[in-house]
């Protein structure tokens, strides 16, 4: 892990601001994150692996918000946590800026993770498979409801029917301004284009708040 490039910080000025970006050589890195969503098997991990170094992340979350008392842990058979093993990607642009890619666990029982993952995110890439378009409805619903900008990336599997981006837009009943890109999750250049497409779209929609917030 390339933490050696971070120099020891002696500053504490960021506690009351948003993430700081005025990093001198001895400061903490700025961090940003993008979510990669879509149905099971659509290629989320493949996409993340094409542009970044993949790392494991264990989350073992309590099933209730209530703190489990010390006495409760005596009954170890009680199921009080649920385990989600997930991967994330890490792109270190420099020692000053790191971008994280989080694949969102698709099943509904993991939705407690989504708020955590999406807070402060740049936006999301919703991956779609033309053979199972409906698999990404849940992700799209979530991002629309939470006003998180997203684009749709259609992973072009071999043998899967090819459609025009506009056909996909209609099938997903997307707003006309949401970009739909065709991509190959295995191809680094293709994935780069998807991420750049998202970043540009977010910059545009955040500077014109009305553009992306219509649900």
């Amino acid at each position: 892990m390339d933490l050696n490039r971070y120099d020891g910080a002696r500053h504490d000025s960021a506690r009351h601001g948003s993430a700081r970006h005025d990093n001198g050589p001895s400061a903490a890195p700025s961090t940003a994150k993008i979510l990669i969503a879509g149905g099971f098997g659509v290629g989320k991990t493949t996409l993340v692996g094409s542009v970044s170094e993949i790392r494991p992340l264990r989350t073992e979350e309590p099933l209730s918000d209530r703190s489990v008392g010390i006495d409760d842990t005596q009954g170890l058979s009680a199921k009080t946590t649920t385990t989600v093993a997930m991967d994330f990607g890490r792109i270190s642009f420099s020692s000053q800026l790191v971008l994280y890619l989080f694949g969102t666990p698709g099943q509904e029982r993991f939705w407690f993770m989504w708020d955590d993952l999406s807070y402060g995110a740049i936006g999301a890439v919703v991956m779609a498979d033309t053979r199972r378009v409906a698999d990404c409805f849940a992700s799209i619903d979530y991002f629309e409801r939470n006003d998180i900008p997203f684009i749709v990336a259609v992973n072009c599997f071999e043998g899967a029917p090819r459609f025009e981006a506009d056909d996909i837009r209609i099938a997903l009943t997307l707003n006309p301004q949401v970009p739909v890109l065709l991509c190959d999750a295995r191809d680094r250049e293709s994935v780069k284009k998807v991420l750049i497409g998202l970043a540009r779209y977010v910059m545009l929609s955040r500077s014109q708040p009305s553009a992306a917030s219509r649900g």
Partner: protein, 127 residues
């Protein structure tokens, strides 16, 4: 209680997963005893201060402090020390309460600002 499978055989080799349940290292606490929130990509650093009062850092606390001698994003810390995120958050709460660790960079707004977006876009384009 020793876990047994349906045939009654003991079942606690490595494949059974950790024998100590994850929240045992937090003494059963599932939420930090701290008002600080620890976002996935917030950056923390050890302050170099020693423990005060009655606090006795456990082995996991010490591992966190060791990794955080340099400013470290929480997601990297969690991956590095291979403990579940919820557990790491409780331990981070202990350490910040004691002044042994602090958050140096945190997301306090749900939406990143244009400057960060521009930096990310430039970074992606130069990949």
């Amino acid at each position: 209680m020793i876990p047994r499978d349906s045939q009654g055989a003991r079942w606690f080799d490595e494949e059974a997963g950790p024998i100590v349940r994850p929240y045992a290292v937090t003494k059963g606490r599932t939420l930090p005893d701290s008002s600080a929130s620890f976002g996935l990509i917030d950056v923390v650093v050890a302050t170099g201060e020693g423990p005060s009062g009655h606090f006795r850092p456990g082995p996991e606390h010490r591992r966190i402090l060791s990794v955080c001698r340099r400013p470290t994003p929480i997601v990297d810390l969690t991956s590095e020390i291979d403990l579940p995120l919820g557990v790491v958050r409780v331990l981070l709460g202990d350490l910040t309460n004691e002044g042994m660790l602090r958050i140096v960079s945190a997301q306090r707004q749900p939406v990143p600002d244009q400057r960060l977006l521009r930096m990310v876009l430039d970074g992606l384009e130069s990949l």
